[in-house]
Symmetry: C2
Subunit: 335 residues, 2 copies
DNA sequence: TTTAGCACTCTTTTTAAGCAACTGCTAATA
DNA sequence: TATTAGCAGTTGCTTAAAAAGAGTGCTAAA
């Protein structure tokens, strides 16, 4: 379909545009990319690439910018996924070697690392609750009138919450709670305790309604917080010229603020480890001018959730994907 | 010093400027504020107020804007601190009645409420560690190789952290830890465990170095997180015309991102409950164009930390201070 | 097939002119 | 003496017009 030179021209235009954010002219290509042809030839190729839908022209006297189709071809066919410097490799290594006791810290570190290197806004969410089974629930008396509930999951996540009472709780009661809750919930997905389940638990310990009601309430609150999103590097938008108009920046930041939106986007990923959504490929209207790369990260087969990078369509796909691939390798102990 | 009419004019100019962000002309004062004098008279007063340093002129053909001295006089002498609507009172009441089990939730709710009503960026930090004494430390086995440490403070704060081991921990060891750590740290301020204290603890349980070292490390990490700042409403900057230039907005958001800066500002408050820093009254260069109102909040004499509101110099001091005063009353059970 | 060259198009920058917003002052008024 | 009407003078803002700049597309030649 595209001959070699056209591919080269397309690649050059895209990479130049990614780095400058300015429409690319035939002259620029000749100057900066050593293709060995004159600007007139490049011009002809660019005109054809435009006809074929890979490039666009903001107006007659401007250069070309890539279309979504252009970016897509670039990502699928032209992309070099080893675009990562020695310093960056070293930095990632150091970061990932930090010792973590809580699995969520690992997600935060990974997210921070990606954002630090790419400068794009990076969001993380925990694993889908159906992939995250309850392994153990522990109730602990912190005082006579204060209880702590700790939920451990198979994936290694730990949720804890505090419940306060107006009357004393006995150690015997606590043991009853430990038994009942584990009995009912162990092995189940980490999801909110629904009404039927609540009734079921209450029926077992019907003399303890006053103790159990607040527990369920607080546990649900803690579980709900599990799908809190973690966000890093949002303010870096200001580094990108496409966000130099205050409304664009505002809009971008407000998208990141809407948890539901982000959850949906991150969870909608296909089975692949890495998914790329370019501009209008995103279903949501608000994301039409942005690109998103998502990355499901796992350690030893355990789902740790999804990390997403959000930036301008002119995102440095090559670097972003290289880094994700490298981190994935590192997380799974390869060298 | 200032006669009544000049005070009225000053107040009118400041309040008009606070609500419009536009330089205020003598004509506007006559139109909107019923002072009973002609624009020429107002003009004369404004000229004198300018000579005295209370007002400034961006240029000849513009109206006047308040100077720092003007705002200061307004805050100290002219301010009405009951500028709060019935709806707002109702909203605050509802919010503050939410049942909280963890004291930090109360701080978050308070911070959110203030930000929701004022639309200014609002930050919160926990109490100064010297005001926050350790009441109890509990170690809990979560599995054979996982320990949870919970620190309770007199103020009602709860910090918990996880420690993982490569070998089994026995219940006997846990009891030893409970005894030793409480023995050494109970009643002490919630501060990082320093080297001498670490040595001291280790000397008591010299056979358990491998168990204790990671505990201290993790506890210090948890304690360090205590002075994490909580931030709400930062993106509301975009609502204020003074931040319509992208650089101003960027600068503002990056100030909020620097934890150290915020800590210093919030902790530097005087003994008063409410402190107001207007523009150049702030020591830090980056804050010269902003105003900050800090609010030390306590419940029943217990220090819960400091909340700060950050916005343009043209902040609605009246509303901000009214709200803080009202919340303070509510938190302490007055009606 | 490739290229030099140039007319043409469209945007951006610059310049100038006219307009609008206020003030400060003068002289009149209560 | 305090207040006010009226108007000249300043300054920034808006609009219009002109000039400059950046690239393309096409033609004709190599």
């Amino acid at each position: 379909m595209l001959n070699d030179r056209k591919k080269q021209v397309l690649q050059a235009v895209i990479e130049e545009y990614i780095s400058t954010a300015e429409p690319v002219s035939s002259g620029t290509i000749v100057e900066k990319y050593d293709l060995g042809f004159s600007s007139a030839t490049i011009r002809n190729d660019m005109a054809e690439l435009e006809n074929m839908g890979y490039l666009e022209k903001p107006h007659t006297s401007a250069g070309r910018i890539p279309s979504v189709k252009g970016y897509r071809f670039y990502v699928d066919e032209l992309l070099n996924d080893e675009n990562i410097s020695l310093e960056e490799i070293q930095y990632i290594k150091t970061q990932l070697e930090t010792k973590v006791n809580e699995i969520e810290d690992l997600t935060k570190i990974t997210t921070n690392t990606i954002s630090d290197i790419t400068h794009y806004a990076t969001v993380a969410i925990g694993p889908n609750s159906t992939n995250n089974l309850i392994k153990d629930i522990k109730f602990i008396l912190l005082g006579e009138r204060m209880l702590m509930a700790v939920i451990l999951t198979e994936n290694g996540a730990i949720k804890e919450t505090i419940i306060k009472y107006d009357e004393d709780i006995s150690q015997t009661q606590v043991e009853g709670l430990n038994f009942t809750f584990n009995n009912k919930l162990r092995g189940k997905p980490l999801e909110k305790i629904d009404k039927p389940m609540e009734e079921y638990i209450l029926s077992t310990m019907s003399d303890q309604i006053n103790v159990i009601k607040p527990i369920i309430q607080q546990m649900n609150k803690a579980i709900e917080e599990s799908d809190k999103i973690y966000l890093k590097g949002a303010n870096n938008v200001f580094d990108f010229p496409e966000f130099k108009k205050i409304d664009t920046a505002k809009n971008f930041l407000s998208i990141l603020d809407t948890k539901e939106e982000m959850l949906e986007v991150l969870n909608s990923g296909l089975a692949k480890d890495i998914n790329v959504y370019i501009g209008e490929e995103n279903e949501r209207e608000e994301l039409k001018d942005l690109s998103i790369v998502t990355f499901k990260h796992t350690v030893g087969g355990k789902d740790l959730g999804t990390i997403g990078i959000i930036g301008p369509k002119r995102m440095n796909y090559s670097k972003v994907i290289s880094i994700m691939k490298y981190i994935n390798k590192k997380l799974n102990g390869e060298n």
